[in-house]
C-alpha cells in the first residue's frame, strides 16, 4: 500500500513538474515547427519526432531490462536438470531482445545523427539473432511444452508431497510431543525405580554385554567399595574369575536365564546370595549379604548333624538295650509268676526259696536300672549345657556300661586303663561322653567289619601337664594311609554301607575343639588309637568365655 501511495505521489509530482515546465516556456522550442535536428522525416512535425524518440528510447530501455531479467532467470534456473537443456532459449531470446533494443536505440540516434550504415549493421545483427532464435524456438516448442507440462506436473506432485510432508510433520510433531510426555513419564518412573533400588536391602548392579558396570545402588556401593560405575566387572572383582560367580553370570549372559548362587567373597569376608537376571543389554545382579544367616545356618547344620549322630548312635544301642532290658524283665517276670503260682499250690515254697527268688528279682531290677541310668543324658542336646566339673572316670565307666552289651555279643573284650589321680576337669560331660561313645562305636565297627580273631578295645586315660588324655585303642586292622588325611572330614567313612554316615569323627573333633582340646589319630602306634586331649580348665570357646579355674584332684571311688 505504501509503495502505491509513493508511486501515485511520484506521478503527480512528475506531472506537475512537466506542467510547470510547459507553462514556463522552456520546453516550447522542442515543440515548435522550427525544431528539427534534421528534416528528413517525421513530416517535420515535432510531435511525431518526440513520440518516436520517446517510444524507441523506452522500448530500448525495456528490452535491456527484459534481457537482464532473462539472464538473471537463466542463472537461477541452471541448477534444475529439467530446465538445463533449455537455457539456450533464454540466452538466444535475450540476445534477440538486446538486438531489438539496439535497433530502437539506433532509431533515436539517427534522428539527430544520421549514421545509417551503423544503424543498418545493427539491424542485420538483430536479424541474425532473431532468425536462428525463431527457428530453434519453433523446433523446440513441442519438447519445451512437454517439459513444461512435466515440470508443472512435478510441481504439482511436489506440492502434494509437500502437503503430505506437512501432514506427516504435524503428526510427527504430535508424536514428538507424545514422546516428550513419555520421556517425562519414563524419567519419573526411572526416578521412582531408582528410589526403590536405593531403598532395597539388596545390592543391585547392572552390567552391559561387555561386562561394564552401568549402575550400582547405594547398598552395592557401600557393601562393595572396590567398584566404580564404568569399570569392567571382572577387573573390579578378579578373584571371582573361575568361581561359581563367573559360571552363573556367563550362563545368564549367554543363555538369558536367571541364575543364583551363594558365594564367599574372601576380600570382604562376606557371604553373598546373588541372583543374576538377564536384561535387554546385559545382566543385573542382586546380592544380599548373608554372612550372619550363613553363620546361623552352619551352626544349625552342625546341630542337625549332632542330632543325626545321636539318633544313629541311639539306633545302634536300641537293639542292645531292648535285649538288655528285656532279659532282666523276663527274669523278674518268670520269678514273680513262679512265686505267684507256687505260693498258692500244694507244694509250698520254703522261706529260703522265696528269699532266693526275691533276691534274684531285686538283683535283676538293679541291673535294669543301671542300664537305664547309662542312657541318661545321651538322648538330649548338650551343646548348650554349662561347663561343669566332671570326672573322667565316671564318664568313661558310664560309656562302657552302655556299650558292654554290644561288645559282649560280638565277643569283644573291653579293658579300662585309667591312671589314678586324674583331677576333675571342666567340660560338658554329656558331650565328652558322646565323643567316647563315638570312638567306641568306631572301634566296634572296625573289629566287627574286619572279622579279626583278636578282638579287644582299650579305653585309657592319663593326666599330663594340665591336660587329660583319653585313648581309645582297638585291635582292628588300622586306618589305611590313604584315608588318614580325610579321616576327620565330614561324610568321610570307611564303614560298610548302612553302618555310618561318616560324621562322627568330624563332629567329635568339633566338640573337642569347642572344649579347647583336640582329637587326633595317634601316629606310629601298632593299633588304631584315637587320642582325645582335654584341658582340665577347659575353655568354652563356643562362647569365648575365659575359664581360669584350676582342676581339683579327684580320686575315684
Amino acid at each position: 500500500m505504501a509503495s502505491l501511495k509513493k508511486l501515485i505521489g511520484l506521478s503527480v509530482f512528475v506531472a506537475l513538474a512537466l506542467a510547470m515546465l510547459a507553462r514556463s516556456g522552456v520546453l516550447a522550442p522542442l515543440f515548435s515547427a522550427n525544431y528539427l535536428p534534421h528534416r528528413y522525416c517525421y513530416l517535420a512535425q515535432p510531435g511525431l519526432v518526440w513520440t518516436n524518440v520517446a517510444s524507441d528510447a523506452l522500448i530500448a530501455i525495456s528490452y535491456a531490462v527484459i534481457f537482464i531479467c532473462l539472464i538473471w532467470i537463466a542463472r537461477k534456473l541452471r541448477d534444475i536438470p529439467d530446465i538445463h537443456g533449455y537455457l539456450w532459449i533464454f540466452l538466444s531470446f535475450g540476445l534477440f531482445i538486446v538486438a531489438c533494443g539496439a535497433t530502437h536505440l539506433m532509431e533515436v540516434v539517427t534522428v539527430w545523427w544520421p549514421i545509417y550504415p551503423f544503424s543498418a549493421a545493427v539491424k542485420v545483427v538483430c536479424m541474425a539473432a532473431s532468425i536462428p532464435t525463431a527457428f530453434l524456438f519453433a523446433k523446440s516448442t513441442p519438447a519445451l511444452a512437454t517439459s513444461i507440462r512435466n515440470f508443472l506436473k512435478m510441481l504439482q506432485t511436489t506440492e502434494q508431497q509437500r502437503d503430505q510432508a506437512l501432514i506427516a510433520l504435524n503428526l510427527s510433531e504430535s508424536l514428538i510431543a507424545e514422546r516428550q510426555r513419555s520421556t517425562d513419564e519414563l524419567a519419573a518412573v526411572n526416578d521412582q525405580l531408582n528410589s526403590v533400588l536405593e531403598c532395597t536391602s539388596d545390592g543391585v548392579m547392572t552390567l552391559s554385554r561387555e561386562w561394564v558396570i552401568q549402575y550400582g545402588n547405594g547398598i552395592a556401593l557401600a557393601g562393595l567399595p572396590d567398584f566404580k560405575v564404568g569399570q569392567v566387572y571382572w577387573n573390579c572383582f578378579p578373584t571371582l574369575l573361575g568361581t561359581i560367580s563367573e559360571k552363573c553370570a556367563r550362563t545368564t549372559m549367554v543363555d538369558r536365564i536367571e541364575t543364583s548362587y551363594e558365594n564367599y567373597y574372601a576380600p570382604y569376608q562376606k557371604w553373598h546370595r546373588v541372583r543374576v537376571f538377564p536384561t535387554d543389554d546385559g545382566v543385573s545382579l542382586f546380592f544380599s549379604n548373608i554372612t550372619e544367616e550363613k553363620k546361623l545356618r552352619d551352626q544349625l547344620e552342625l546341630e542337625q548333624m549332632l542330632r543325626e549322630k545321636r539318633i544313629e548312635a541311639l539306633s545302634h544301642m536300641a537293639g542292645g538295650l531292648a535285649h538288655e532290658i528285656s532279659n532282666p524283665l523276663a527274669i523278674i517276670h518268670g520269678r514273680a509268676s513262679d512265686l505267684m503260682s507256687q505260693t498258692i499250690g500244694k507244694d509250698q515254697l520254703s522261706a529260703h526259696e522265696v528269699h532266693k527268688a526275691c533276691q534274684s528279682i531285686v538283683k535283676t531290677s538293679d541291673r535294669a536300672i543301671t542300664i537305664l541310668r547309662g542312657l541318661r543324658g545321651f538322648a538330649r542336646e548338650a551343646s548348650k549345657d554349662p561347663m561343669e566339673f566332671a570326672s573322667v572316670y565316671e564318664i568313661a565307666e558310664e560309656c562302657m556300661e552302655l556299650q558292654q552289651a554290644r561288645f559282649a555279643v560280638q565277643n569283644i573284650k573291653v579293658g579300662l586303663a585309667l591312671e589314678s589321680g586324674i583331677p576333675l576337669f571342666l567340660c560338658r560331660a554329656v558331650q565328652v561322653g558322646q565323643i567316647l561313645t563315638n570312638l567306641l562305636n568306631n572301634a566296634f565297627d572296625s573289629i566287627v567289619q574286619s572279622e579279626s580273631v583278636d578282638r579287644w578295645i582299650t579305653l585309657g586315660a592319663d593326666f599330663f601337664s594340665g591336660e587329660i588324655h583319653v585313648d581309645v585303642t582297638d585291635s582292628g586292622p588300622g586306618v589305611a594311609d590313604q584315608f588318614k588325611a580325610h579321616l576327620m572330614e565330614p561324610f568321610f567313612t570307611t564303614k560298610e554301607l548302612g553302618l555310618g554316615m561318616g560324621v562322627g569323627l568330624s563332629l567329635s573333633r568339633a566338640i573337642a575343639q569347642d572344649h579347647g582340646g583336640s582329637l587326633t589319630l595317634r601316629p606310629e602306634t601298632e593299633h588304631t588309637c584315637f587320642r582325645l586331649t582335654l584341658p582340665i580348665n577347659g575353655t568354652d570357646t563356643s562362647d569365648e568365655k575365659e575359664q581360669s579355674l584350676i582342676g581339683v584332684p579327684y580320686q575315684p571311688a
Binding site: H323, H333, G334, V409
Partner: protein, 226 residues
C-alpha cells in the same frame, strides 16, 4: 538256649514239668555241638548271645544238610526280617518277657503232629480276606505258584494287606482243588507283591490233601520266602 543263667533256670524249670528231655546251652556254638550228637525235636533260643547268636545258628542249620528241629525264638528284640526268619524254619517269635502259658502253648504247637493242627476255626471272622489266583501249589521255581511250608504258605497278590488275621482262598489254574481257611499274615511285601501266611485253620475239603502235600514235600521252611 540263652546266655542268661537265670533265664535258663526259669525256662528249664517250666519245661521240665512238661515232659521230654531238656538240654541247655549258653550260646549258638554249644547248641550246634549238641545238635551234632543228639537228635533234637525243638530248639528254643534267644537271639542276641555272645560267640554265636540265634540268627547265625539258624542260618548255619539251614546250610547244613540235616533235618532241622522246630525252632522258636524267645528274645527281647528281633534283629531279623520275619520273611527270612520263617523261611529259615523258625516257627514263632516270642517277645521277652514271656509268660509260662504262652511259652508252653507255642512249644506244644511246635512239636504237635500236623494232623492234630488247624482243626478249629476261629470264632470271630477275620477282618481281611484274600483270594489268591495261582497256577499251582508247590513248585518253588515257579513264581506264580503258591509255595507251601511246614506251617503256612506264600504267594503273590496285588492286594494290600496288614499283618494279622486273614481268611484266605487259593484258586489254582492247574486244576488242583481250592485251598481255603484262616491264617495270620506274618509278612507282606508291597514291593514284591508277596505275602506269607501262617495256617490257623484249614477248611475240611482241602485239609487232608494239603497235609499230604506237606508230608510229601517235608519243607524246611515254616513259610517259604517266595
Amino acid at each position: 538256649m540263652d546266655d542268661e543263667p537265670d533265664l535258663l533256670e526259669i525256662f528249664g524249670c517250666w519245661l521240665d514239668s512238661n515232659s521230654g528231655r531238656l538240654y541247655q546251652a549258653a550260646n549258638g556254638e554249644e547248641a550246634l555241638a549238641l545238635l551234632e550228637t543228639t537228635p533234637i525235636d525243638l530248639l528254643v533260643t534267644d537271639i542276641r548271645m555272645p560267640v554265636m547268636d540265634g540268627i547265625a545258628l539258624v542260618r548255619r542249620l539251614a546250610e547244613l544238610d540235616k533235618p532241622v528241629p522246630s525252632i522258636v525264638f524267645v528274645s527281647g528284640f528281633a534283629d531279623i526280617d520275619p520273611r527270612e526268619m520263617y523261611s529259615l524254619g523258625v516257627e514263632a517269635f516270642l517277645a521277652k518277657p514271656v509268660s509260662r502259658e504262652d511259652l508252653i502253648d507255642v512249644l506244644k504247637k511246635a512239636v504237635a503232629e500236623r494232623s492234630a493242627l488247624w482243626l478249629d476255626p476261629a470264632a470271630a471272622a477275620s477282618r481281611q480276606s484274600l483270594v489268591l489266583h495261582a497256577e499251582s501249589l508247590g513248585e518253588i521255581a515257579n513264581a506264580n505258584s503258591i509255595h507251601l511250608g511246614r506251617g503256612g504258605f506264600s504267594g503273590r497278590t496285588e492286594e494290600s494287606l496288614i499283618l494279622g488275621k486273614v481268611s484266605f482262598q487259593c484258586k489254582f489254574s492247574s486244576g488242583q482243588p481250592e485251598m481255603s481257611g484262616q491264617g495270620i499274615v506274618r509278612w507282606y511285601s508291597r514291593a514284591d507283591q508277596a505275602v506269607g501266611i501262617e495256617f490257623c485253620f484249614l477248611d475240611p475239603p482241602c485239609r487232608s490233601w494239603v497235609l499230604k502235600e506237606i508230608a510229601a514235600a517235608s519243607p524246611r521252611s515254616f513259610i517259604p520266602s517266595h
